[in-house]
């Protein structure tokens, strides 16, 4: 769906995206990163509004910076973070307008506006002027305009911005519905980890214009589920510590306390291992690492800190990856 190779984007002398090599498969992709991390620049580049200074890539098969950018934008929907509503027009008028601007004939655009406003749950209030809408309704109008022309890929920039918990839940339900019912690829840019955790099946963490980590959410979840803390009655001898590798990867260990990622999904094997090696395992605690811990490690730690998360600190060259040549991600369920 999207692939970059050594992509660099500049604003004059300022490098906004640096050496991005990344390949993303069709699905819901969570784009995480703090303000100024390059998320918006990346979206602008994907929309063909900025040209790469170096490197390149493709979006839906169209090369970045190609003269076909306008044609590409007809296949992409974009829901901005900010309030880009035409205040003196109704939801129906403006969604139909955006549909026409995306290349639909006027009549078809009006039909689609009705359909898509029904899809986002605004059918009853679609003739009211946007200036009278609540924040949740405004977000849904923005989503409707992004979907009116049935794009193959939709960029959602902070779709839950300003919403109360209930509105947020409904918006995330809609995002999942867009994927499930319309089959549209979704890029969800957010700084809210829970949003990404709930919707995304792939994750990209950006900071200072660089990809800090990328991988499949399912792989990450499975990996996090295999992390345990082991406490032994006495500190392990050197040969016992070395033998721990039979169980899995030791991520951290000191004073008889070990942070371990099990190779197999059967942590109880640790008790048998302890018996076999003449020691006593007194505690086996699941490490319920949350996504925010992973994010903090990705942003502020070293690549070693990402060990055991299932994420790759430096995504591989897409050409070098075998079975998932266009992916660069560990396959769901793998890794």
């Amino acid at each position: 769906m999207i692939a970059f190779e050594h992509l660099e984007v500049r604003y004059g002398p300022v490098v906004a995206l640096r050496d991005l090599t990344l390949a993303l498969e069709d699905g819901v992709i969570g784009l995480l990163g703090p303000n100024g991390s390059g998320k918006s620049t990346l979206l602008k580049t994907l929309l063909g509004l900025l040209s790469p200074a170096q490197g390149g890539g493709t979006v839906l098969g169209v090369p970045l910076g190609s003269p076909r950018a306008a044609e590409l934008r007809a296949r992409i929907g974009y829901m901005p973070e900010y309030d880009a509503l035409i205040e003196d027009a109704s939801a129906f008028e403006q969604v139909a307008f955006w549909g026409e601007l995306s290349g639909l004939p006027a009549e078809q655009s009006r039909d689609r506006a009705h359909e898509v406003l029904h899809f986002v749950g605004l059918d009853e209030s679609r003739y009211r002027k946007a200036s009278g809408y609540s924040t949740g309704m405004r977000q849904r109008v923005k989503l409707a305009q992004a979907l009116v022309h049935s794009p193959e890929l939709v960029f959602l920039d902070e779709p839950t911005n300003g919403l109360d918990p209930d509105g947020r839940r409904r918006m995330l339900d809609l995002v999942l519905k867009v994927r499930a019912e319309l089959g549209t690829g979704v890029i969800l840019a957010s700084h809210l980890l829970e949003d990404v955790e709930r919707c995304a099946d792939q994750l990209v963490i950006l900071d200072q214009g660089q990809v800090k980590a990328a991988g499949s959410m399912e792989g990450l979840r499975r990996m996090l589920a295999r992390r345990f803390e082991l406490r032994f009655l006495d500190p392990l001898a050197a040969e016992q510590e070395a033998a721990l590798a039979e169980l899995g990867t030791v991520l951290e260990g000191r004073n008889g306390l070990y942070d371990l990622e099990f190779a197999a999904a059967e942590p109880a094997a640790a008790f048998r291992w302890a018996q076999a090696h003449g020691t006593v395992l007194v505690q086996l605690t699941p490490r319920h690492d949350r996504l925010d811990e992973v994010l903090i490690r990705a942003l502020h730690g070293t690549p070693d800190d990402l060990r055991g998360t299932g994420l790759r600190p430096t995504p591989p060259d897409p050409r070098a990856v075998g079975g998932t040549a266009s992916s660069g991600f560990p396959a769901p369920g793998g890794n």
Partner: protein
């Protein structure tokens, strides 16, 4: 189940719609026509058009009715005659009101998009900057032109109806005045769109438009008087607009010559188009 129940997918066929510039212009014109101020302009200009038609009829009567010979001298002194009568269909208070209309319409066109951050979203669609400029120009130029055309065509038709080719309005008037109206509309569109691009809100856009019109008119008049060079009037868009009907109808002497009028118009179009271009580039679009 509602009749508009989702039928998504299949995907609709894209690329079969109207050009983006036309879609933009259609949407903007609908918004302008919904505004209450539109009714004010419609009423004012309608009254003025009626006055013009009455003047035309009076002029016709003066030329044909011998009973009116007594008031002919008075009427001749009050009403413009000859080429000036022809050029008068696009001049004076009527042109001033159309300038106001252009300022209210054009002044908000770009600024409203700036205020609500519509332009970045527009460029995220298959809309190129040239489409955007063309769409806005179609509205900012098209509306004043559409308002001016009845002031040319209705008197012309009336004159043909009441007196044929020998009426007070030249049979060739549209050939002279439609190009003049186009030049005036281009000036109005360029100045007001440029002013709108400078502003952050529609009100500020209208303010900028009026400020530019009156702000340039005063120094142009002062410079022309002080330096005794009428060509300095070409600095003022309103003076340029008034000059085109005079030149095309052959009024002697015109307030401004051909060269300063043509150069002044070209300079205004270039400067304001450049400002519009610089202020609405995609790189200005912060997503």
């Amino acid at each position: 189940m509602p009749i508009y129940a989702p039928t998504l997918p299949p995907r609709p066929e894209r690329g079969l719609g109207d050009p983006p510039a036309l879609v933009l212009a259609r949407f903007d014109v609908r918004r302008v026509l919904r505004q209450r101020i539109g009714m004010f302009f419609l009423f004012t200009l309608g009254v003025w058009l009626l006055i013009k038609l009455v003047m035309l009829y009076v002029n016709h009567l003066l030329g044909t009715k011998t009973q009116l010979a007594g008031v002919k001298d008075l009427a001749t002194a009050l009403l413009p005659q000859g080429a000036a009568f022809q050029a008068d269909f696009l001049s004076g208070p009527m042109l001033f009101v159309i300038w106001l209309l252009a300022a209210f319409v054009g002044g908000g066109l770009v600024a409203r998009d700036t205020l609500h951050r519509i332009r970045p979203l527009m460029y995220a669609h298959p809309v190129r900057p040239a489409d955007y400029w063309m769409g806005k120009a179609l509205t900012a130029v098209g509306l004043p032109l559409a308002v001016m055309l009845p002031f040319i065509l209705l008197p012309w038709v009336l004159s043909l109806l009441i007196a044929g080719g020998a009426g007070p309005v030249w049979p060739t008037l549209p050939l002279r005045m439609i190009p003049a109206a186009l030049a005036i509309a281009l000036l109005m569109g360029a100045v007001t769109l440029g002013a709108s691009a400078l502003a952050a809100t529609p009100r500020a856009g209208v303010g900028w438009s009026l400020g530019i019109l009156f702000g340039l008119n005063a120094p142009a008049t002062v410079l022309a008087k002080v330096l005794d060079q009428p060509a300095w009037q070409a600095l003022s868009p309103t003076d340029l607009a008034a000059a085109w009907p005079q030149l095309l109808c052959g009024v002697t002497p015109p307030a401004l010559g051909w060269l300063p009028t043509a150069l002044g118009t070209a300079a205004h179009l270039a400067v304001w188009a450049w400002i519009l271009r610089m202020r609405t580039r995609p790189s200005e679009a912060v997503l």
